[in-house]
Amino acid sequence: MLSIRNLHASVDDTEILKGLSLEVGDGEVHAIMGVNGSGKSTLGHVLAGRPGYTETEGSVQMDGQDLLALEPEIRSREGLFLAFQYPVEVPGVTNLEFLKAAVEARANHRGEEPPNASEFLKQARALCDAVNLDQAFLRRGVNEGFSGGEKKRNELMQMMLLQPKVAILDETDSGLDIDALQVVADGVNGLRAPDRSFVVITHYQRLLNFIEPDYVHVLVGGRIVRSGDKSLALELEEKGYRWLEDEVA
């Protein structure tokens, strides 16, 4: 589903990713762990096409397509979704308008009929309930004045609406209390499907108790230095990251 090969990427001429390779098969959940500055979030941004993040070498394919050749909006319409670590506030654009525009853009791109206004509203309301957000949030500005947890749940709602092929969750657990974490995990687990893959970026093992990964990878200095199953996360929790950093050095 997602094939990353020898990816190098820079931010402001500083190389952050230094030859990252990762194969994510259909329906798999991969966790990427690492200390701050190891390149976890950069990976998410490069995949989503954030301006200022430049890939200098390597390739990324999604479903056999050259992902990096596509504009950010085309990547999204083709099925990539990045849940932002820091969702952006867009005052003046209501959540509902925003979600509708996103769904319409995707439907038009795929030559499908977008849902009519009342169908859409019904769906959006149901999703609010599913992520435990008051329906009044649909009428509010996108993320405007939302708490940290509300922003993350809003990201989750967008993901549920857009039904991506590949979902990248960038530290979606940060700033969440245990109840909110459960809501987010339920949302993700409910979306798990044979034709949908997840890359879960996190600093802490805690999230992985809720979203059980098939594979765990450790990122150090812009490369994956160790891969394993979920037991690797527990080992990290016990020994800390220093152990692997030392090993790599």
Partner: protein
């Protein structure tokens, strides 16, 4: 040109009005015509005005087009003026609690009241307002008593090339409440000089909305000036689209203790249009709050001027005043001159003042694109949002919906 020469009183006015015309004219004696050295006009040229602009005789069409000012679902009392003439057929009877007096028809008591208030709310240094007074032949007084729930809308439509001299005096009696909309529209090429004075007695509340939606051919110089008594509260909303020359002065004088005002405004310019808003919060009484927020989107080669002033007088302790102006330039040739002014003569106050000129946030743009919106759609949505935020403050949902449609059509016509 010369203010004194232009200050020609109409023939046959009643004595009280002649007295006002003369007083207005005397304030213009020796006042030089504004040029770039005149501080209040240093960024706005009056070159679009010619001697013909002041012709009050020609170009009256006289038949208004109600479709042009239709606001769906707005259940308002409409008073319709076309080329300066009140059209009773297109207008509604005023509801109870409101009295409407045409200046030319005022009886002795009404005339006395008008004469004692007219010209006292607008600052005397506003020379175009004095010019308006010197040439005044008619206008209206609106008095509000008690709570008037239905909004009153004055439609000022212009169809021809006749120079127009609108005057409105609003008296909010103690404890009264009202919503007033001034809706300027029309495809005329006239020069309009309009002065609105809003006098709020103690504990009264007025929401005043002034829409400058004339076609881009019209020239407009005008102002809306409010004076607030004790614990009066004032809400204001301005929307302006550009033209060859448009200048709007807004002053709010917090004259009574505990008065509050919340003012918002937006301007939208494209092609080589101009607009100039001069906004001033005067604080002469203690414990008053004022908040003013204006935003502009300037496209193509258009140019906006915004001057925002807070003036806190010696006695105005415990004032809280903020004034904020944000501008979005959507082309490299678009321009804005925004100038904050603070003049404070009391230490015990809290003031904030901000003016920014920017382009759209790359972060917001990327966020929208990451959800599948194309660059153009994302730009439009964000530009729209920049102004749309302010519309939430409109008191009538139907009015907010109308303004959103106007905003949308502005963008649809390639506003940015």
């Amino acid at each position: 040109m010369d203010f004194e020469q232009l200050a020609v009183a109409p023939v046959e006015s009643p004595a009280w009005l002649r007295d006002f015309q003369t007083a207005s004219r005397s304030a213009l004696v020796g006042v030089p015509w504004p040029d770039r050295k005149t501080e209040a006009w240093q960024n706005t040229s009056l070159r679009a005005l010619t001697a013909d602009s002041f012709d009050t005789s020609s170009g009256v069409d006289g038949s208004g087009d109600p479709n042009e000012y239709l606001i769906e679902d707005l259940n308002s009392t409409d008073l319709v003026f076309v080329d300066g003439t009140y059209l009773q057929d297109l207008s509604d009877p005023v509801p109870s609690g409101v009295s409407l007096v045409h200046l030319s028809d005022a009886n002795e008591a009404e005339a006395g009241m008008i004469r004692s208030r007219i010209g006292t709310v607008v600052p005397p240094t506003h020379h175009f307002a004095q010019l308006n007074g010197s040439r005044l032949d008619d206008g209206i007084l609106l008095r509000f008593r008690g709570a008037v729930s239905q909004p009153v809308r004055i439609v000022w439509q212009s169809t021809g090339t006749r120079s127009l001299n609108h005057r409105l005096l609003v008296l909010m009696e103690e404890g009264s409440q009202a919503t007033l909309i001034e809706h300027f529209c029309g495809a005329g090429e006239a020069f309009t000089n309009s002065v609105s004075e809003l006098d709020l007695a103690n504990n009264s509340h007025l929401y005043h909305c002034r829409l400058h939606l004339e076609k881009e051919t019209g020239i407009h110089i005008g102002g809306a000036h409010a004076r607030l008594g004790s614990h009066a509260s004032f809400g204001g909303f301005h929307l302006g689209t550009g033209g060859p020359l448009k200048r709007v002065d807004v002053t709010i004088d917090h004259a009574g203790a505990g008065a509050t005002s919340l003012l918002s405004g937006a301007y939208l310019l494209r092609a080589s249009q101009r607009i100039d808003y001069h906004v001033c919060a005067e604080h002469s009484a203690p414990q008053c709050d004022s908040q003013s927020t204006f935003r502009g989107i300037i496209a193509d080669k258009a140019r906006a001027v915004f001057n925002g002033r807070i003036h806190i007088h010696r006695g105005a302790r415990k004032t809280q005043a903020t004034l904020d102006n944000k501008n979005l330039l959507t082309s490299d040739s678009a321009q804005v001159n925004t100038k904050p002014e603070l003049e404070i003569y009391n230490d015990d106050v809290s003031c904030a003042h901000g003016a920014t000129v920017s382009q759209l946030s790359g972060e917001s743009l990327h966020y929208l694109r990451s959800r599948g919106l194309g660059t153009e759609a994302a730009f439009r949505l964000l530009n729209f949002a920049f102004i749309n935020e302010l519309l939430d403050r409109a008191p009538e949902p139907a009015l907010a919906a109308f303004l959103r449609t106007k905003l949308q059509s502005w963008f649809d016509r390639g506003g940015s």
